[in-house]
Every structure is written in structure tokens, then in C-alpha cells.
């Protein structure tokens, strides 16, 4: 891949707030310009590589150029607030419809028997399957409804809320009262998490351009935010109920949150071709933080309670999911990078 391809790939990745068709058109126009410039320089005796480097330098830094381009194409920009509201409305609407449909029949409960080896009874299995399906629908509708904002804030937020509702529906009434759980509280906690992740996204967009440093800071801050949220909201409540129920909660939590995030990353990679680096890192850091939080909590709780004799299973599962997430991120990055390059307009021969 030439330097021009690399440059245009970077430029395109920063145009994610624009309609894809418009972004592709802009990239095609930039390619024409860069190759014209390089050809002109070559005609004056400048070497091949130097001509391209000079043309790229004259065009400017991709993030800055892209920022100006996004501002100059206001009518092609997707309004973030509208996207967010649309994504939430469609995802929650779909979730409500789906849960109603699943509640009306028991056929899908049989599909959830895969969870029985983990010690869950059939009632819990039905509930988990219902809410995992809810999450998948919510994720899919969110992917259709919005992109950048959804990935920074909407996706983890909805997954968290869905997980909280999963736990709520699985708990006996007495425990709900004891733990002080209510749908409103879960919605508020999900909104809090959404706001915190949006803060991480904001931080990521303002970090210095040194890749290693900004990546490290974003991953650490995203993981810390996830840990804080999980620690304060989920485990604080779980500590007030029986450990066995906490284990169920945890297992459903993994299924409902971590797995769909990995799947959705790959789906979005296919649909959007690539996400901006910051958004991707935020999603990845959230995933790592959640996996870490689950592993730590089980290490603390599981070792001191005989009821969790299968502790090694969920621990291993958490570790596997984290590894799978990291592997998926590598595959995703390589794959989308190639796809993005392949989607660029053909090179111009002067």
C-alpha cells in the first residue's frame, strides 16, 4: 500500500461523522489532488517517494484536514443527538416488543439449555436467553440507527441497562426489596455509565497525537471507568443479596454484556468498514474493564464460599472472553484496514 493510500485511509477514518457516500467522494477528490500534485513534482525532477511525501505534507495533517472537512460539510453530518435518541428509542422499543413476544411463549427457553452446565435452573436460563436476545436486538438496531455516538456511549449503556433488568427479573421479590433495586434505579445507573463513557470518549479526542501514549491513557481510563461503575453499582447491590444469586447475576452479566460487545464490534466493522481509533479503543477498554471486574469479583467472592464450587468455570470464561475480545480487535483492525484501503477509489495515472 502506498503512502497516499495510507494517508487517505487515515483521512477517511476521521470522516466517520459524515454520510459514507459523501466521505467516499471527498476521499476520491483528495486522491485526485494528491496524485496530480505528486505527478507535477515528479515532472520537475523530484524523486517518486519525495514527490509523494511533499504532496502529503502540503495537504496537511489528516485529523486537522478531516475536522475542517466535516465542518465544511455540515449538511452531510449526522446530528449526534438525533442519532443517539433514535438509537435508544429503537433499541428499547425493540427490546420491549421482543421481551413481550418471548414472554408469551416458552419455545425459546429450550434454546437456553446451553447454560445449564453452569448450574442455572431452567427459569434463570429462560430469563437469560430472553435478555441476551434483547441485547442482540438492541445492538443491531443501534448499529443501524447510529454510529459514532452509539459506540462511545449508547452501546455500553444499553448493554448495562439490559443486564440490570436481567438481574432484576431473575431475583425474588424479597431480594429486590432488600437490595433496593428498581427499574428506575437501573436506568439511572445505565445513564451514569453512558455519561462516564462519553467522558472517556471526550478525553480520547483531546489527547496528544502520540499514538502509544494516547492509546495507553485511553485504555487505562476506560478500564477504570468500567471498574468503578461495575464496582459501585453492580457489586454494591450484589453484596447485599445471597452469593448464589450474585453468581447467577455475574454469569448473565457476562453473557449479556461482553459477548454482544465482541459480536457487535465485528458487525459494525463490516458495516462501517472502520471506526475511528478513539471510538474503537473506548469500546475495547470498556470490554477489558468489564472482564477484569468480573474476574476480580469472582476471585474475591468465589474463593470464600462453597456454593461457588464452579468458580473456575466463570473465571476461565471471563479470561477467554477478554482474550477473544483482544484477538477480535486485532483481526478487526487488520481486516477493516484492508477493507478501507480496498474501498478507496482507484489510483489515478497521470
Amino acid at each position: 500500500m502506498s503512502d497516499i493510500d495510507t494517508y487517505l485511509s487515515q483521512l477517511r477514518s476521521h470522516l466517520i461523522d459524515l454520510d459514507p457516500e459523501r466521505a467516499d467522494e471527498i476521499v476520491a477528490e483528495a486522491r485526485t489532488h494528491l496524485e496530480s500534485r505528486a505527478a507535477q513534482l515528479r515532472a520537475t525532477g523530484v524523486g517518486e517517494n519525495e514527490a509523494i511525501k511533499e504532496a502529503l505534507a502540503a495537504f496537511g495533517d489528516p485529523p486537522q484536514v478531516a475536522q475542517d472537512l466535516v465542518q465544511g460539510n455540515a449538511r452531510h453530518r449526522r446530528p449526534a443527538a438525533l442519532r443517539a435518541v433514535g438509537a435508544f428509542v429503537t433499541s428499547f422499543g425493540s427490546g420491549l416488543v421482543l421481551s413481550f413476544l418471548l414472554g408469551a411463549g416458552s419455545a425459546l427457553s429450550r434454546a437456553g439449555t446451553f447454560a445449564l452446565p453452569a448450574g442455572l435452573d431452567s427459569e434463570s436460563t429462560t430469563t437469560i436467553v430472553k435478555w441476551v436476545a434483547y441485547c442482540c436486538i438492541a445492538l443491531l438496531t443501534g448499529i443501524v440507527g447510529g454510529r459514532r455516538f452509539w459506540w462511545i456511549a449508547g452501546l455500553p449503556g444499553v448493554a448495562m441497562i439490559a443486564t440490570g433488568l436481567l438481574v432484576l427479573s431473575a431475583l425474588p421479590e424479597a431480594i429486590r426489596a432488600e437490595a433496593g433495586l428498581s427499574p428506575l434505579r437501573i436506568l439511572l445507573s445505565g445513564a451514569l455509565f453512558t455519561a462516564m463513557m462519553a467522558g472517556v470518549g471526550w478525553l480520547a479526542s483531546r489527547l496528544p497525537r502520540r499514538r502509544a501514549l494516547s492509546t495507553a491513557i485511553t485504555i487505562i481510563s476506560g478500564s477504570v471507568v468500567s471498574l468503578i461503575w461495575v464496582g459501585l453499582v453492580v457489586f454494591a447491590v450484589a453484596a447485599s443479596i445471597k452469593v448464589e444469586d450474585g453468581a447467577r447475576w455475574y454469569f448473565g452479566y457476562l453473557l449479556a454484556t461482553v459477548t454482544p460487545v465482541i459480536v457487535a464490534l465485528l458487525i459494525a466493522g463490516h458495516r462501517d468498514r472502520f471506526l475511528s481509533r478513539e471510538v474503537f479503543i473506548v469500546a475495547l477498554s470498556g470490554l477489558c474493564g468489564l472482564g477484569l471486574a468480573c474476574a476480580v469479583s469472582l476471585a474475591v467472592w468465589g474463593g470464600s464460599h462453597s456454593a461457588l464450587r464452579h468458580t473456575w468455570r466463570p473465571l476461565a470464561m471471563a479470561a477467554l472472553l477478554c482474550i477473544a475480545g483482544l484477538l477480535a480487535s486485532i483481526v478487526y483492525t487488520v481486516w477493516t484496514h484492508r477493507t478501507a484501503t480496498a474501498s478507496l477509489p482507484p489510483a489515478e495515472s497521470q
Binding site: E25, E29, G60, V65, A74, E348
Partner: protein
Amino acid sequence: MKSDTQLLKGSVRLLILRLLDREPMYGYQMIQHLKDRSEGYFQLGEGALYPLLHEMEEHRFLRAEWRDQEGRPQRRYYHLTAKGKKELARRLETWQGFTKAVDLVLEATHV
């Protein structure tokens, strides 16, 4: 002599409209024309041109179309619209008024 960045920023839309009033052009061609006609004085940042063009396109001062080139890939040409002609006339009037006022002050000060 190098151009003043602030002065260039303030006048570049007028210059673009004026260039396109004569003939449709593509982005790189505009940069070359600006540079050549000003004898190298106006050297617009190349990546900065397209946001301006797109912004003026969104305001319907310009219209763009991809044109086939013989034996070469397409280029995106920009045309001045009727609304763009009016905008050019308005900016020219503003510019001429401004330069006239500046000249008057400079001449008065010089005397």
C-alpha cells in the same frame, strides 16, 4: 513576498468565486491558478481549499460534478451558480468599498 494568513483567509472565498466566474475548475487547478496569477503570493494550504469549496457548495454558491477526462480518471469540477454570481457581486462590492476606505485613510495619513 509571503501572503498574510489572516488577509488570505478573509479574501479566499472572493478569489475562488472570481476564478470560477471565468471557467469551471477542479481544486488543484484553482490552487495553481491562484499561485500563478498572483505570481506566487497566494499559496493556499492545499488541504484547506476543499472544506471551503464544500462549504460554498452547501450554500449553493457552487455546483460540483465529476467529469470524465480522456484516458484519465474523473475530476470534480466546480461551477459558479446564479446564487454564487450574486455572492461574488456582493463580496466584490464589499471588498472594493473596504480597499477604497483603506486607501483613503492611507493617503490622508501620508499627506
